[in-house]
């Protein structure tokens, strides 16, 4: 099974699609804004600890914004962490990294998983069905695309990619006159 680590290529090409902020263990933890979920309708199965959101679902999280047609979340115990969310139909995820770069993901379905096993945190978002991730550096499609949030890596199977490169940047260290032109940036397809 072929896996391709998108992040590695992006860094090699000078575009860092993912960035991580690792806090020291004793560093103060800044307060985060709350996660807000809006929808037209919702069902809550208290006994099964599940929340079902339907119609114009919008998730506004400090790390990302998500919209979809329906979403199911496993509710944690009081004070616990949500360990599974499934978003379906016209899933759109927008996030902004620490450089202020916007990353845009779309898919038919997105599954968020969080768990801690033997002291190791696993946190992933798996995009399936017309999955695509896009930013200023290019775009990636795959089936599936897996965003490993715990390790800040992104990989895809059956992937296709496009990397955009500014020709003037490529020519910066040459003596070519092209580096001094005002031509618009060009895209390069890999």
């Amino acid at each position: 099974m072929k896996k391709f680590y998108f992040i590695t290529l992006m860094i090699m090409l000078g575009g860092e699609i993912l960035r991580t902020q690792t806090n020291a263990a004793d560093a103060p933890k800044p307060a985060r804004a709350p996660t807000i979920i809006n929808s037209d309708r919702a069902d809550f199965d208290i006994a099964a600890r599940k929340a079902f959101y339907y119609g114009n679902v919008r998730v506004d999280d400090p790390q990302m914004k998500l919209t979809c047609a329906q979403m199911v979340a496993d509710l944690p115990q009081t004070g616990g962490h949500i360990n599974r969310i499934v978003a379906e139909t016209n899933v759109v995820i927008d996030s902004v990294d620490e450089k202020g770069q916007t990353n845009h993901a779309t898919s038919d379905k997105a599954v968020y998983i969080y768990n801690v096993q033997n002291g190791v945190t696993n946190e992933t978002v798996t995009l399936t069905g017309h999955a695509k991730v896009e930013n200023e550096q290019g775009w990636l499609t795959g089936e599936p695309i897996v965003w490993d949030r715990a390790n800040n890596s992104l990989h895809a199977e059956n992937q296709k990619m496009l990397f955009r490169q500014n020709i003037s940047d490529v020519m910066t260290n040459t003596n070519s006159a092209a580096g001094k032109t005002n031509k618009p940036a060009a895209s390069k397809i890999f």
């Binding site: 807000i36 979920i37 919702a42 400090p62 009081t78 949030r149």
Partner: protein
Amino acid sequence: MKIKLNSAIAVLSALMALGIFAVATRAQQNTAGHASDFSSVEYFEPPHQQLMKSRLSGAEAQPLAGGLLAIKQLKLEMFDTNGVLEMVVKAPDCVYDTLHGVASSPGHLRLETGDGKSHVEGDGFLWRQTNSFLTISNNVHTVIENTAEKKTGL
């Protein structure tokens, strides 16, 4: 006096008929036939029978035809077996079907976790007591307080 007593019994019976509320702890009843400032408590099964499972309270409870009960300023608190408050549900108005264990209202509802860090609210709801299933029909708004600090970009 007999009418007043019968009315009080009717209201308390209806509350007790909620199924989960085994003990009516407090209620005041007036000549209009409804209870005010009432609360009712359900306890866990053994071995936790000394602990509250839930407490229902309200400003008013008015018996209606067909086994219905109109409740104003509903507040339902649910606890775990450690005595920790798990959830609080508040609704300005609702009608409780004592025969089927269903509460509903076109009005507002707010559900809050016991630690107060998260809440859900919306307009129009249906609560099925038998399987603890809540439907909020319109304008659902959920707020979840975050404690994690990690920042990542997609």
